[in-house]
Symmetry: C2
Subunit: 192 residues, 2 copies
């Protein structure tokens, strides 16, 4: 049931069988349909998810418009991290883009588990370090690259993503409007 999740954790820290079993006690397997709201804006996020299968997105609300902040694919941890880490109402919403198989756990149970399994601190530290470095790279791309360059980067690095998510969500993720992304695509693909 959770072997995919533990393959993921192995990349950061190899838990003992005893530690795994303590972790399993707080894990729940859950399937949700497409367009399922895992976190609504304004709620306090209490759960963290690991995606066994499927795809989801995090988004913000800007004057009634949904602006995508991130896409989550298989084998990624997913949550309203800002809310879960600060215990404040979430500015971020989360919804599935495909039917999803999720490993779910309550963040407070996870935090408490750090007392029982001190090595969990190492895992969480490494995970956060990786997420932090990635967030820095996203910031760098936003100030260094043009929207066109960002689209081309995505096209090269995650070509499969482009076929799994609607283009207008991709546009706001790149920091531009859907109309603008359509023009950029025309500029790129007409050129050759």
């Amino acid at each position: 049931m959770f072997q995919q999740f533990f393959q993921f954790t192995d990349r950061y820290l190899r838990f003992s069988e005893k530690e795994k079993s303590a972790l399993e006690d707080i894990l729940i397997f859950r399937e949700v349909p497409k367009k399922y709201p895992l976190l609504k804006i304004g709620e306090i996020a209490r759960e963290v998810y690991f995606i066994n299968k499927g795809c989801a997105r995090m988004f913000y609300d800007k004057d009634g418009e949904e602006i995508t902040g991130f896409f989550f694919l298989e084998n990624m941890m997913l949550s309203g991290f800002e809310s879960v880490l600060t215990r404040q109402p979430s500015q971020q919403g989360i919804e599935t883009l495909e039917p999803c198989e999720l490993v779910v756990f309550s963040f407070s149970a996870f935090e408490e588990l750090h007392e029982k399994i001190p090595r969990l601190n190492i895992f969480t530290r490494k995970l956060l370090a990786e997420r932090f470095v990635f967030a820095q790279k996203v910031v760098a791309s936003l100030i260094l690259d043009s929207p066109e360059e960002r689209y081309l980067n995505l096209f090269q690095r995650q070509p499969k993503l482009l076929n799994r998510v609607p283009q207008h969500m991709l546009a706001t993720y790149l920091g531009i409007t859907p109309v603008s992304l359509s023009r950029i695509r025309k500029r790129i693909f007409d050129g050759k």
Copy 2:
């Protein structure tokens, strides 16, 4: 010597005297002049800094131009985090903008200390969580807000910063050119 640093760490975790003394063993106090390069692009970052006094910036190189990625002020941890955490040559450069009083420690010594002081994992985890949340907020601002809004936000939240750093560095930090920031400022301040 290091009391300011421990006031900072107290916000995350209260270390025992014994733990503090073990930490102090790897801390060094260092003063550096203005424009001092703490990390050159291409080098592997080995040190982490805490700013007692002064101001520095992190920057990227885009086709020979320096694009500011972040400003660091008093009571902040400062490093080429991307490089130090991945052990890869740094895409990020760091230089002081004012004469600085720094608390310096080697990152590898800090990492090793986690074995000796397991509670250090908690401190580092909390610090990384905070940095991650902040980086997320920066990403959100870059995709949600216009350059003008970002400047106004900065103007309200960190008015002192604007007088401590050159305007062209602020411009690239906001993701625009110095010329454009000059126009935005005119739009804003002429309007009233």
